[in-house]
């Protein structure tokens, strides 16, 4: 499913957090949003999964106006892995994954066979079937992320929005997660901190700074030393990944103060 973000602006208590952003994520593509902290990445993504309403602009899914859909309708198309999960109650893993079926269910209807199959497949897909009976709060950080991805996949989304999904994960888990989210072939729109991970996985990168897009394109074209110096304030050298040919970055350390 194609996602079009069209001149979206978000103003929060008088400040423009996101200014006039337009971008397109083609169907099935893996699109990264990078930028320094506070550049508006999360705010932009929150508009796509309906946690925030843009002040101006439009978001379209295959041409349909997302903001005009009911929250339930959009949740049938768009799933998300938000950054903050305030799990306070000791749900089991199976219960957490089952929440992914919420937009597909009636308020009081029992779980259908399709619901059960989607949940089982999602848990199986992320390799967490053995965790089903465990309490969510007893899991490690990596296990929690996997379960939350299973919940998003159980939603059978055609667009998956990820906000810094690799935070607190070790390198093996980071790589695993970014491959797992491609199950089912949704369009992926993700904010990432790690520019090398972004360069390795994304078909297309958008660089945000101060709420604006300052560069867009393939990682190879976007991640230039000049841009990194200007946006992130770091000095970087480009090398080529010997296996995949992707651009990778090496950073200079700063001189001792």
């Amino acid at each position: 499913m194609r996602v079009d973000i069209d001149r979206v602006t978000v103003e929060i208590s008088g400040t423009h957090v996101v200014r006039d952003i337009s971008l397109r994520a083609g169907s099935g593509r893996f699109v990264g949003v990078v930028g320094p902290n506070g550049s508006g990445k999360s705010t932009l993504l929150r508009c796509v999964y309906r946690a925030l309403r843009p002040t101006a602009g439009a978001i379209r899914l295959d041409g349909d106006d997302l903001l005009a859909m009911s929250p339930r309708d959009s949740a049938r198309r768009v799933a998300a892995l938000p950054q903050e999960v305030a799990a306070e109650f000791d749900f089991t893993v199976a219960e957490v994954v089952a929440m992914g079926r919420l937009p597909h269910q009636g308020a009081v209807a029992r779980e259908s066979e399709a619901d059960r199959r989607a949940c089982a497949a999602a848990l199986e897909g992320v390799g967490a079937a053995h965790l089903a009976g465990r309490g969510f709060l007893t899991l490690s950080g990596g296990e929690k992320q996997r379960v939350l991805i299973a919940r998003a996949l159980a939603q059978q989304p055609r667009v998956l929005v990820l906000d810094e999904p690799t935070n607190h994960l070790d390198i093996a888990q980071q790589l695993e997660l970014l491959s797992l989210v491609r199950a089912g072939g949704p369009t992926v729109l993700t904010a990432l901190h790690d520019l090398n991970l972004a360069a390795l996985h994304c078909d297309l990168l958008h660089v945000l700074d101060g709420g604006r897009i300052v560069a867009s394109g393939a990682p190879h074209d976007v991640l230039t030393p000049g841009l990194l110096a200007e946006v992130f304030g770091v000095r970087a050298h480009r090398v080529v990944h010997p296996g995949t040919g992707a651009v990778q970055l090496l950073f200079d350390r700063l001189p001792r103060p």
Binding site: S70, A75, E88, V108, R134, G135
Partner: protein
């Protein structure tokens, strides 16, 4: 002194899946048990009391009352005790217990806070202001027997409007702001009530005010059942309808939004529902503590956090608990009556601590 190699290696993580798959009580069994316990408890509420009416006679009166049968002239006083005093009291105890427990479930999910209960929103202490104005200063005297509950309900609604107006932000009701506003106003309302008790001219009024603050069903009659009953039933239906959305809300506002639930709207619905039920319940029973805090937690320990399961158990458990608390309050120091708050704590605290020790219960990672 132990050396390094003396230590037994302790596995850092228990291997996945080794935890017992079900530390929970089977739901159908528990619900069936509670469904039997509820009518049995109601009958006990009518049969047990300080005046020593034999069980056979009490049951006969209960039968006569429900089927519209007849009694002999010399039985009128015992019939009145069973059918007009004890039984409506037991029914009202069930209604109030179910109401407080389900409001507790709703409020804990709404503000995502383990310590939240029906009183954290400041609504019940608002009701107390109105109730004590009646008890101490005789306000609303024109309304007669309805003065107390009307005043309590109206001031509960006023408190609700105040909390809502102060706590709301352009982004809707946020959990922390709700809890802080509710708690701050709770202290404010309590100060007003305390001042009224302090300023009361005669001791008897202060005593009945105190009784009301600790909860009592002493004023129960059939006339107080329908309004409270309808409010609680309406609240329960709404919660049952929202059970899945409550699960989503409990995982955080962002998650709820991503699952197609508007957290601001749901929280507003829950706030209004909780306020109406709390107001209606507090108006007939006073401020009975502990039930709304502990019954939801105890139910979670037994059946887990899923609100569909939780809402099947918590109201029934709250109803049964409060019927027995009320029975005890009448017989322990008969003919004097104990405030219900004393007994809910006396029974609830040990039960709760026992449950918490026995079961692996986590709330917010604690």
């Amino acid at each position: 002194m132990a050396t390094l190699h003396d230590r037994t290696p302790v596995p850092h993580h228990a291997p996945a899946g080794t935890e017992p798959p079900s530390r929970r009580v089977p739901l159908p069994l528990l619900v069936a048990g509670l469904c039997v316990a509820l009518p049995v408890s109601l009958v006990c509420g009518a049969g047990i009391g300080a005046s020593g009416i034999p069980w056979s006679e009490a049951l006969r009166h209960l039968w006569a009352g429900t089927t519209g049968g007849s009694i002999t002239a010399d039985e009128v006083s015992s019939y009145t005790i069973v059918w007009e005093l004890r039984f409506p009291r037991a029914v009202l105890a069930a209604v109030v217990g179910a109401g407080l427990a389900s409001v507790g479930v709703a409020v804990q999910a709404m503000v995502r806070n383990a310590l939240a209960d029906p009183f954290v929103l400041g609504i019940s202490s608002g009701a107390a202001v109105g109730a004590n104005a009646v008890l101490i200063f005789g306000a609303f005297a024109a309304l007669g027997v309805w003065a107390l509950s009307t005043a309590a309900f109206l001031s509960a609604l006023a408190a609700m409007a105040l909390v809502y107006a102060i706590a709301r932000t352009p982004r809707g009701l946020t959990p922390l702001r709700l809890v802080l506003t509710g708690t701050a106003l709770h202290y404010g309302f309590s100060a007003v009530t305390t001042f009224m008790v302090f300023a009361a001219e005669h001791g008897e009024a202060a005593r009945s005010a105190m009784m009301w603050l600790l909860g009592s069903l002493g004023g129960a009659s059939w006339s107080s059942v329908p309004i409270a009953g309808c409010a609680v039933l309406g609240g329960l239906l709404h919660l049952g309808w929202s059970a899945r959305r409550l699960n989503a809300l409990a995982m955080g506002d962002e998650t709820a939004a991503a699952l197609g639930v508007d957290p601001g709207r749901l929280r507003r619905e829950l706030f209004l529902g909780a306020a109406a039920v709390t107001g209606a319940v507090v108006a007939v029973s006073g401020a009975i503590g502990f039930v709304g805090l502990m019954v939801p937690h105890a139910a979670r320990m037994l059946v887990g956090a899923d609100h569909r399961r939780l809402l099947a158990v918590a109201p029934l458990a709250g109803a049964v608990l409060l019927i027995w608390v009320d029975i005890l309050s009448r017989v322990v120091l008969a003919p004097a009556e104990l405030p219900l708050g004393v007994l809910t704590a006396a029974i609830g605290v040990p039960c709760f601590l026992l449950l918490m020790r026995r079961r692996t219960y986590t709330f917010g990672g604690a």
